[in-house]
Symmetry: C2
Amino acid sequence: MTADGPHQLTPASLARRQGVALWRQIQQAIEAEIAGGSHKPGARLPTEAELSARFAVNRHTVRRAMEELEGRGLVRIEQGRGSFVAEDVVDYRLGPRTRFSENIRRQNREPNGRILRVAEVPAEAGLAEALGIRRGRAVILVERLALADGRPVVVGTHHFPAARFGQLPELLAQDPSITAALAACGVPDYRRKVTRITARLPTPEEAELLQQSRSRPVLVTEAVNTDPAGVVVDVTHARYAAGRVQLVVES
Amino acid sequence: MTADGPHQLTPASLARRQGVALWRQIQQAIEAEIAGGSHKPGARLPTEAELSARFAVNRHTVRRAMEELEGRGLVRIEQGRGSFVAEDVVDYRLGPRTRFSENIRRQNREPNGRILRVAEVPAEAGLAEALGIRRGRAVILVERLALADGRPVVVGTHHFPAARFGQLPELLAQDPSITAALAACGVPDYRRKVTRITARLPTPEEAELLQQSRSRPVLVTEAVNTDPAGVVVDVTHARYAAGRVQLVVES
DNA sequence: GAGCATTTGTGCGTATGTATG
DNA sequence: ACATACATACGCACAAATGCT
């Protein structure tokens, strides 16, 4: 038994045929090693082949364990590169005056935005009601990817009534800040009324945009913003990379 | 080609070797059928064997697709029984006066609680700081499963300073309501200060308690409650079944 | 309760595709 | 071009949970 590396904490001691799946025992072993500091945040983990040799199981079995760890947010798997221990998360404050840039700068990180898509579409039933317009009326749809220190944090889809915000597309083409564009449309301030929060696994597009694994959940929020007079300005559907943000609600 | 059931919408037309994984094409096909109403909420889906025959792929490939759908919250898979289309969700309001029972009753559902564990443990660093006590001081730990209409919704782990709430264990043994027990300890009212929200896949224990699949995310909240004088009453760590609740924040 | 069929869960072996460096 | 490492897919076998007889 000669130690040939730093990963020989448990050479091979799985309980077979005892009610606990092998992949789960492996997942627990690796999880314990991460928690115990054997693998530091950002560090590269052994390859699947190495792990399957170490635990004396098929590579599929190791993969099942790694997928679980990835979904739980402990590791990040990258095709062709390897698997890595997960790193830190950013706090994202939800409140009546939620603004992405302020929020990120408060964390001493550099905010950044990229408009992915701008389109004019007819309002379907639910959206029309939320916006207080008639069904089928034109809506400006803006899809935007927001980043902190260059890393994607959230994809937001905004819906503005076209009647009032028809100039938005041109404004956003010049400056990707939504707050600035709204100000130019005569809405210098707005407040968030309600936010609904759920979680689910991402669609492939979301995973791609957020540069996040498909097995890592996204936090999904549905929010309604109003102007000072109480008139609905927009309805936003945002998807946050759960591995990189933590939503903070203050009462 | 004789139709022998209601599931022959796409007999077998997958694009092999074209960049899109087979399991993903299958997932999309089933997702479209659910969205289109071919499979109604709660209805049983074809078995894996049937689907693998229909799409002319291996059962593993179908399973991969179904796991994705389960994680996305569209279906629910039960060993030995089959797979089912997912059903409705409950709104759960987060605010300064968050109370589980009120919250659930507002939705015309019957709230219910079950104390899983009560213990006295020493406070580790982070917890001690949040509670405003010294590290190592005794803390009453209460773990509780809360249900709506008999279905598990959230597992909460509460931490109270033992010095002030030493009688909690006995009180909870009689009535599982935490609000009532606190009132008996001289805290008739309390408010939630901050709530941190994240999402991740559940641990096996959480999945078991919430009667939820391991591939369905849980919404995780960390909250701090204070009494009217501003003194911290407890720190709560709650895990919500993302498939059954939606958190609602009002500003 | 025992026995059995059905259905999902786990695991192996193998082969090939695709991204990275 | 090449080696490495993760991703997809097939086929087989058996385990475990469920429901029915």
